[in-house]
């Protein structure tokens, strides 16, 4: 799907229009996905690259972003619980980034007005790493980080 068309669709009401088009049979589900999945951002390997792909500048460290139900040590890297709450006013989205994963960006969550800027999910971590909670609020980016240690489990083989 070419970029211009994507931008036009986005400009013309974002997902609502896309969903209408999909419902009308104009788009296959794959097109909806392609339009709405930021491949460039998910391919990035550094914070700078990720920020560029997301269209933002350098994020500002913020004490208004907190991790909850997120352990310092994960017993298994295949499932690492991550909870993030943002108290930054006008939070629009929350993203989870893992510094030492093959690709840095794990997930982004757009938070519409009326939804609490607080969520929890589970991610994979290949090794001990810093995990970043990146918040977009009123067009600006803020960040908090936490180191999570990943341990080797069981009989190790």
């Amino acid at each position: 799907m070419d970029k211009k068309r994507r931008e036009v669709l986005k400009a013309g009401g974002g997902m609502t229009l896309l969903m209408l088009l999909a419902a009308a049979g104009w788009l296959r589900p794959g097109d909806v996905r392609a339009a709405d999945w930021n491949k460039a951002a998910f391919d990035t390997k550094t914070m700078d690259e990720t920020m560029k792909a997301l269209g933002g500048g350098t994020p500002v460290p913020s004490n208004d972003i907190a991790f909850f139900s997120t352990p310092d040590i994960a017993e298994n890297g295949a499932v690492v619980p991550i909870g993030i709450t943002s108290k930054v006013p006008k939070t629009e989205s929350i993203a989870i980034l893992v510094e030492k994963n093959p690709n840095m960006l794990a997930a982004t969550f757009d938070i519409p007005a009326g939804t609490e800027p607080s969520l929890s999910t589970r991610i994979k971590m290949g090794q001990t790493s810093n995990v970043y909670a990146l918040v977009k609020a009123d067009g600006k980016y803020y960040v908090a980080s936490k180191e999570i240690k990943v341990t080797l489990g069981g009989c190790g083989g």
């Binding site: 997902m15 296959r28 589900p29 794959g30 909806v32 996905r33 709405d36 999945w37 930021n38 998910f42 295949a78 499932v79 690492v80 893992v98 994963n101 093959p102 690709n103 960006l105 794990a106 997930a107 982004t108 969550f109 757009d110 938070i111 519409p112 009326g114 939804t115 609490e116 607080s118 969520l119 929890s120 999910t121 589970r122 991610i123 994979k124 971590m125």
Partner: protein, 103 residues
């Protein structure tokens, strides 16, 4: 075909708390099989949660989200008996939509 999600939606104070478990391999595309061949990536890319046709959460995921994904969040409003609807779409264009009644 993809298996159903397990969705719980409960009124907590003046909000609705949504907890969902999804059935998905979330294969990273980084792992190798026994023969040393890369196992192709297979993962959910988009998750959309709606309540009364209003989007309450819109997520994009990469393969670093854990297998059989779990997600929990809250949105303002929502009343017992109303529906919460969740749709995911993966990188193979497979998609699944499930609904839960707010309790």
């Amino acid at each position: 075909m993809a298996d159903p999600m397990k969705i719980r939606a409960n009124v907590v104070g003046d909000s609705t708390e949504v907890k969902v478990l999804m059935n998905h391999e979330m294969e990273t595309g980084q792992r190798k099989d026994a023969q040393g061949k890369i196992i192709p990536g297979w993962f959910i890319q988009n998750v959309k949660v709606t309540h009364n046709d209003k989007v309450v959460l819109d997520a994009q995921w990469g393969p670093a989200v854990a297998k059989n994904p779990f997600l929990s969040f809250k949105f303002k409003g929502g009343a017992k008996g109303e529906k919460v609807r969740i749709t995911w779409t993966d990188n193979r264009n497979d998609t699944r939509t499930d609904e839960a009644t707010i309790a």
